[in-house]
Amino acid sequence: MSFRSLADGLRDTANHVITFLRVERGLKKVRVEEELVKGLPRPTLHVNTSEGEVICVEFSETDCYPPSLARFAEDFRAEELPVKIFIALPSTGQNKTSIAELARAKKQGIGVMLVGPAGKVTVLDEPISQLLTQLRRITMSDYPAKLRARLSQAESTFLSGNPPKGCSELYDLLEEITRRIVAAAISRGLWNGSPPNFDPKIESWYNVCSTAYTKMQFKNIGKLSPQIWASVLAITRHRNETGHSPTTLEKRRRRDLEMRTRFEHAADLLRDLIDNTRKFRY
């Protein structure tokens, strides 16, 4: 491999990482110091995955979150690109990497690799797509304690690189709550006209929500408004979207951006739904 800008002392380390990506991760076409996006810094190594993501590897002699890496990640975040960044350090036992630095790298979604002198690569942290790291994190205290573990799980699934599944886990919660609200409304007679002839626990979520939108007596269900319910109804169309995995960087970028918006919106909606039905036991 021909390096031109990487420091000479890190080239062996970089070659070990190339071998690791090929052998351990099955990523064959590793590019060395090639342009990824015009006008942005060249990653030292980068490789496209079959899921339309790009994995970049930068190198440092001693620090796992040097200022140059922070700027590098910022550039890719600013362009909203689904790029995962690793920092690789030679594991000499003398580098200055501290827990605080590791935490900073982790917070920015940077993965950390240690490369031993014999070429053994140890991954301390997997990276998160820079596009996904911009996800507005869920404020757990806004939600009932019993939901927090599942919310945290959904967020972690989303950030670990599976946004559709992360969204799906959040939709599961929304679905459970809305079905329970509708069931409670039916049993308490808070329904205009005759009660529906379906079981709200097993009927399709869309049917449950759309019927409730026209028949449920919102004024008797806490502060729940038809507007909030309409937002839930709008989400039902995404409920079972699995979609095909994007295959290009641009498709992945668009998909992940959309997923980020959906996840944030669903989390907000869940909070609003809970807040506005607090006095309505269901």
């Binding site: 420091a7 000479d8 110091e33 942005l40 001693t62 580098n95």
Partner: protein
């Protein structure tokens, strides 16, 4: 004189991709920390000082500015400001590298040492004789002590040059061996060999032992290597040569016997005495220049104490 006229150079923006490094650049080790710092500066302020290149075919060859060029590559800049100079002849090219870099940057000595034989060979062709140290110094801009230190490194067997090269590739904080260590070791061993021919029979074996002791911190400081010539000069301080040789043999063997221990077990006291005697003679000379009127109270007190000590040591009669 360098046959290049920088006044004829033209300032142009040239594509970063069309530039190659100069194979004659003796600076072969660039560290990531240094590159990162410069990269950050270039990111914020751009390349403020043009690099220097000459054109060779379709490519440009760097004369000055390899770090700026590497950073421009990393930052994916399309062009970089460059002074395009006429192509120099091989000797001028290599001398330019020395004059531009060695005077301005902290080069690793080994990088200079590895290029110096090439300079000497090219100069020998031009001067039609082996260049003197003074001539090498005036043409390269290196001072003579640097040239001498380089020569010590050049004379190292390949195995040790490679060992040092591998070490210098590491970040500064992780380097265990340095050029200074090898220079101190070679100087000391040369003196020992000169004074006690035959004591160093397997020089590489001795080098290996000293390197191993330094790495394992049996030798704590590289200046401890200076004890070796002092022990070898035992006869000069009237110490038993036989005991000194035995100590040197022990220190040259793989064990935990340190240079400091060898020094203390042999000539340390003799050197200490020698130092005391030379200091006493300096005091006597100084006192000789004084008159009773020039003694102040503090000095008088010190002399009285000295007289008391001398009498206690030598007796009143002497």
């Amino acid at each position: 004189m360098l046959k290049i006229d920088a006044g004829n150079a033209k300032l142009r923006q040239i594509p970063v991709e069309e530039i190659d490094r100069n194979p004659e650049n003796p600076r072969i080790f660039f560290r990531q920390g240094e590159l990162d710092t410069l990269q950050e500066s270039i990111r914020q302020h751009g390349v403020q000082v043009p690099i220097s290149v000459f054109q060779k075919g379709r490519q440009y060859i760097l004369i000055d500015g390899e770090r700026r060029w590497r950073c421009a590559l990393k930052l994916n800049l399309e062009t970089i400001p460059a002074l395009v100079q006429p192509e120099p002849d091989p000797l001028t090219n290599v001398l330019l590298m020395f004059n531009i870099h060695a005077l301005r940057e902290q080069w690793d000595l080994l990088t200079i040492a590895m290029k110096l034989p090439n300079v000497i060979a090219l100069l020998a062709v031009q001067l039609r004789k082996v260049p003197t140290e003074a001539e090498i110094s005036s043409r390269t801009g290196l001072n003579r002590s640097v040239i001498r230190r380089c020569k010590l490194l050049m004379d190292l067997p390949t195995k040790y040059r490679e060992m040092l090269t591998a070490e210098l590739k590491k970040p500064k904080t992780q380097q265990k061996l340095s050029e200074d260590f090898f220079i101190e070791m070679e100087r000391s061993l040369r003196t020992v060999e000169r004074i006690l021919p035959g004591i160093v029979q397997d020089k590489n074996g001795v080098r290996d032992v000293l390197i191993s002791k330094y790495k394992s911190e049996v030798i704590k400081d590289l200046v401890d290597l200076r004890y070796l010539p002092k022990i070898a000069k035992a006869e000069q301080v009237k110490f038993s040569l036989q005991k000194a040789e035995a100590a040197l043999r022990k220190v040259f063997s793989p064990n935990s016997y340190s240079l400091q221990e060898a020094f203390e077990d042999t000539v340390a006291e003799a050197y200490s005495e020698k130092t005391l005697v030379s200091k006493l003679w300096a005091v006597i000379e100084r006192l000789d220049e004084m008159t009773p009127d020039s003694l102040d109270e503090e000095l008088s007190k010190a002399l009285i104490a000295l007289r008391k000590q001398i009498r206690a040591l030598l007796g009143r009669s002497q």
